[in-house]
Symmetry: C2
Subunit: 258 residues, 2 copies
């Protein structure tokens, strides 16, 4: 099973984003307990998990220790983990990052990478991914309002590079369904990571899937993690379980439509 | 003293890059001891230090613990620290990164940031930097062979944004003196971080400085850290001290020429 097949093996296209914000976690529950519980109650619905490392870096060394353990424990359940780190640097620095995430201390199944410094800077990630059967999601179209500002210009070159390389997936924000349709047409076989669904405003998901209704992982972070905010911890766990179920259902519907 | 003045207060334009590679550190010397010694013997020559976080992430939690302590100890000497992290993400994730580096667990004087996802994604870094008197070095022209591939297209918009914002500096690779001259003319008052001098092939430094021979921090990492490789630890410390002195001398000469 190659890396794409692992990410598509669970009969779900829901990627559960793990973005811990201390102030939104129930009183008396640690960040580690919170995330363990989230994984516990959503595992049945999740295609994969996507911890966003920024939220762990903000928690300092304790947060990064937690992340390393969390990634390991999710993978031990047989569920793939994609770390959203948007790393990107040149030459030996890119190699150092690749080694940190593929086989290193934050060992994961796939990593988001920013290719904007030039395709030569992505090669160390690609080579490390190839060697270990991992994936590299290149940022192609993010879900922020200013995404077009620089990404329009780089798109044609990136599309060509992604089409040619099985180790590459692509980040394609849910907020622009037109871009989704255009990029899906250009990249019929590429696995898309689709952020920006729900909280950020993306609604029309069909264009991001391929003709068979496959090929996309739709991320939801806050909409699941902070469901039931204000309730008791027990109520919140139920709300989180339910939110994951609803999100998966919405995504399933979009996959089948069209 | 604003953040630029802090970086230019030490009568030196040498930025000492800290890129620890375990296999190149003397036997029996820990990474922490090695970096402490590097700082000790180069402090007199250094305008600032630039740890590249990729090399610490590769070392895992021990490496990141070391980084946090190292940054603190250098700043306690009164020497500014710029963390080369090339972070960049959207919305609340950008805020999380900004909080990790400005006032957070990896508290530093300036941070390198990748603006390629759109200028809206840089605003959280800008706001955090403004609030705390810190700096944000935007990647404008990196020192890798493929730098022009996407960076040519984004340059005009970035130049305009950098010119308008005192919290922004710019990364301008030493490997392209023509780009240095063009960007210096466009940004007469901006502090440049100039990587790629020495090991990566940059030689003509004058264009990166302003008319008064100021406004640039020229980075050297491997050329200093691994000077005297193969010798005893005592010999290597002497070689590192000497390499920093020579690098600073070369840079001083370039500042005065022209």
């Amino acid at each position: 099973m190659n890396w794409k097949e692992r990410f598509e093996s669970r009969d779900s296209a829901l990627c559960v984003g793990l973005d811990p914000v201390e102030s939104r976690i129930p009183d008396g529950v640690s960040v580690a307990e919170f995330l363990d519980a989230v994984v516990e109650v959503t595992a049945e619905q999740a295609a994969c998990y996507k911890p966003n490392i920024a939220f762990f870096e903000r928690l300092g060394l304790a947060g990064l220790t937690l992340l390393a353990g969390l990634v390991k424990s999710i993978r031990e359940r047989g569920i793939p983990v994609l770390i959203d780190a948007k790393r990107g640097d040149i030459a030996s620095t890119a190699t150092a990052y690749a080694e940190a995430y593929f086989g290193g201390p934050f060992d994961c199944d796939a990593l988001t990478v920013n290719p904007s410094l030039g395709l030569d800077t992505v090669e160390p990630f690609r080579d490390a991914a190839r060697a270990r059967g991992r994936g590299v999601f290149l940022l192609l179209r993010t879900s922020n309002p200013g995404a077009a500002q620089f990404q329009d210009a780089s798109e044609p070159i990136l599309v060509e590079a992604i089409r040619a390389e099985p180790a590459y997936g692509a980040v394609v924000g849910a907020t622009d369904a037109g871009a989704g349709a255009r990029l899906r047409a250009a990249l019929p076989d590429t696995l898309f990571l689709v952020p920006g669904f729900g909280a950020q405003g993306g609604t029309d998901l069909r264009p991001f899937f391929d003709a068979r209704g496959r090929g996309a992982l739709v991320n939801s972070s806050r909409g699941i993690l902070y469901a039931g905010e204000g309730g008791t911890w027990t109520e919140r766990k139920d709300a989180i379980r339910e939110a994951a179920k609803v999100a998966r259902g919405t995504i399933e519907k979009a996959r089948r439509d069209g």
